[in-house]
């Protein structure tokens, strides 16, 4: 089937007052094919977490549409939306806060199953809970314990088990590794990769860690202040970034290898506030290649090379061979 599983068109989400809102997401469009893992990369204010929640309608968009299998989920009433949630799931960033501290693990997972009438009957449900726990690398006896008895990495696994309990097709992973130690991160990355393969999942992977995105994702969308700067396949993006922001982002991320030259292309200035984003191209205040024309119009996302999209009027900068 050629139709993308998830399609986002012109998504906008503004918070706060009507005259000076926080423009968290400002006209973002992308599509995710079945079985694909799309990476959403950006720093604070990029809007990546808000996009993750808006795609699932946990937060209502201000404008724009989200399509699942060609159907507009914004048009659904509350009960059909609730039923649809079994297909669209999320893994959260904070493993400590995402589980109800007063519920045992078994109860948390049973609730997920019961919500969508899966495996009815007490015995069948308990069996399924044990299966889910083992699927994420825990043990069946863990079902009788409370969240505070587990470490961060284990709690994150429980969160994954809960998301998988309802048998989703699509998962939004909202910075699932940020709160974990480095040595635990690789465990969870492997878990996600294995489950994704086994269960044929489609994923939206939100992260600020470029190395993880390079490892896990097929394509990447780079965001800045609520707007898309660049879209490309992972290999192409990390080999040769086109947009000045992507280049700066890659240069600023230190590689764990002292022999690789550390590039002193430190971007000047701070990230502007999403309440008062710069006119025209939102990146122009920090862009080393900005000219006067950059302030006039918001650059459109264009396909500057086959399969590569960038939002920048300075084509000669974008298409130049990657600066060292």
């Amino acid at each position: 089937m050629n139709e993308p599983l998830i399609e986002v068109r012109g998504l906008k989400k503004f918070f706060g007052s009507n005259d000076r809102p926080v423009r968290a997401v400002d006209d973002v469009s992308f599509a995710i094919a079945r079985g694909e893992t799309l990476g959403l990369v950006g720093e604070s204010g990029s809007g990546k977490s808000t996009i993750g929640r808006t795609v699932l309608r946990l937060v209502e968009p201000t404008a724009g549409q989200v399509f699942y299998r060609g159907g507009d989920i914004g048009a659904l009433a509350s009960e059909p939306l609730r039923k649809l949630r079994s297909k669209l799931q999320i893994i959260f960033q904070d493993p400590y806060a995402s589980l109800n501290p007063k519920m045992r693990i078994g109860a948390i997972l049973c609730e997920a199953l019961a919500t969508h009438h899966l495996h009815p009957g007490k015995g069948a449900r308990e069996k399924r809970v044990a299966e889910l726990l083992e699927l994420v690398g825990l043990r069946a006896e863990h079902a009788s314990r409370f969240p505070h008895e587990f470490s961060g990495g284990q709690r994150q696994r429980i969160g994954v088990a809960r998301a998988l309990a309802v048998e989703p097709e699509f998962i939004v992973a909202d910075e699932p590794l940020s709160a974990l130690d480095v040595s635990i991160q690789s465990q969870v990355i492997n878990l996600l990769a294995e489950l994704r393969e086994r269960l044929s999942l489609t994923m939206l992977f939100i992260s600020h860690d470029l190395d993880v995105v390079e490892y896990l994702c097929d394509r990447v969308v780079v965001l800045y202040l609520g707007k898309v700067m660049e879209v490309a396949t992972t290999g192409a993006l990390f080999e040769k970034a086109l947009h000045p922001y992507t280049r700066a982002l890659l240069a600023a991320s230190p590689k764990a290898d002292p022999n690789q030259p550390s590039v002193h292309v430190a971007l000047k200035g701070d990230i502007p506030s999403p309440i008062a984003p710069p006119s025209g191209c939102v990146f122009r205040t920090r862009c080393p290649h900005a000219i006067d024309a950059c302030a006039e119009h918001v650059p459109t996302l264009e396909e500057v090379e086959p399969g590569r999209w960038a939002a920048c009027i300075r084509k000669e900068i974008v298409l130049m061979k990657a600066a060292a």
Binding site: L99, E111, V166
Partner: protein
């Protein structure tokens, strides 16, 4: 006796322990009134009126010759049950109100304005007015007091609901597709128990005092009912010649209310830091 850890922690402070003991004694007396006071509290004996405390009448007799001690013990039943029903009623009503206002944004403002309106009237005056309208009876006193205390509970519950509603695990179950009713019952309410429990103990104390005050003013329960308030009301004109008629019921009121307050403090202190820990 091995107490569960939370109870042990609660009773760790001596004042809380003392308060708990006092309340236990009063409760036992109230429940087992017929065994602890063999004399009929309503038995009038006009020849024995206003007798000072003696071996026959350990707390003396009142203006109608009734044994004060027996009336206090039996009166405990009335006073405590009125207070208990008030606490129960206002907590249930207030929780419902606060939960709905805190969880459903469009209902928040209108419900809270009603609560504000009710709280703008001084509680005691409101209670007096309500009983005056409805007529003096045990049920009406409870009703009036429930109406007075519900807004307080609603405010506290609403505030906690607003906090709990935003917690990540609530968003997580919403993302699962769990129904709103179940979210309220299984996820929000259990995390509100701490502030609710604190409110219960405080309202219990206030209700004892309020009932006593209302009965004293004659707008509480009918004067024949032996509550501590009616005892003080009935005996007030004889106070200077027979102080025991008002002293003992007064002391009963004070001790009970004070003990409830102390217990409520203890419960609050116990649950507060824990609340922060579990949240």
């Amino acid at each position: 006796m091995k107490l569960p850890p939370m109870l042990r922690q609660l009773l760790h402070r001596r004042i809380v322990l003392a308060a708990a003991v006092v309340l236990l004694v009063i409760a036992v007396l109230a429940i087992g009134a017929p065994w602890f006071a063999s004399i009929d509290p309503n038995d009038t004996a006009v020849l024995q009126r206003l007798k000072a405390p003696s071996s026959e009448h350990p707390m003396g007799t009142d203006e109608l010759g009734r044994d004060v001690y027996a009336r206090i013990v039996h009166g405990a039943r009335y006073s405590l049950s009125i207070a208990a029903l008030t606490a129960l009623g206002s907590v249930i009503a207030g929780t419902l109100l606060g939960l709905v206002a805190g969880f459903f944004r469009p209902l928040d403002a209108p419900l809270m304005r009603v609560v504000d309106a009710m709280m703008s009237l001084p509680d005691f005056l409101l209670a007096i007015a309500l009983v005056a309208i409805l007529g003096p009876s045990l049920v009406n006193v409870v009703l009036a007091l429930v109406l007075v205390y519900t807004p307080r509970v609603a405010r506290v519950v609403r505030a906690s609901t607003l906090v709990v509603r935003e917690l990540l695990f609530v968003e997580a179950v919403r993302a699962l597709g769990v129904r709103t009713s179940r979210i309220l019952w299984r996820h929000i309410l259990p995390n509100l128990l701490s502030p609710i429990l604190v409110q219960v103990s405080f309202i219990f104390a206030y209700a004892i005092l309020a009932e006593a005050g209302l009965s004293f003013l004659g707008v509480g329960v009918p004067p024949e009912m032996p509550t501590w308030g009616t005892m003080v009301a009935g005996g007030q004109q004889y106070a200077h010649q027979a102080f025991w008629v008002v002293l003992f019921p007064g002391l009963a009121i004070i001790f009970t209310a004070l003990s409830l307050q102390m217990l409520g403090d203890g419960v609050r202190d116990l649950l507060d830091p824990k609340l922060k820990k579990t949240l």
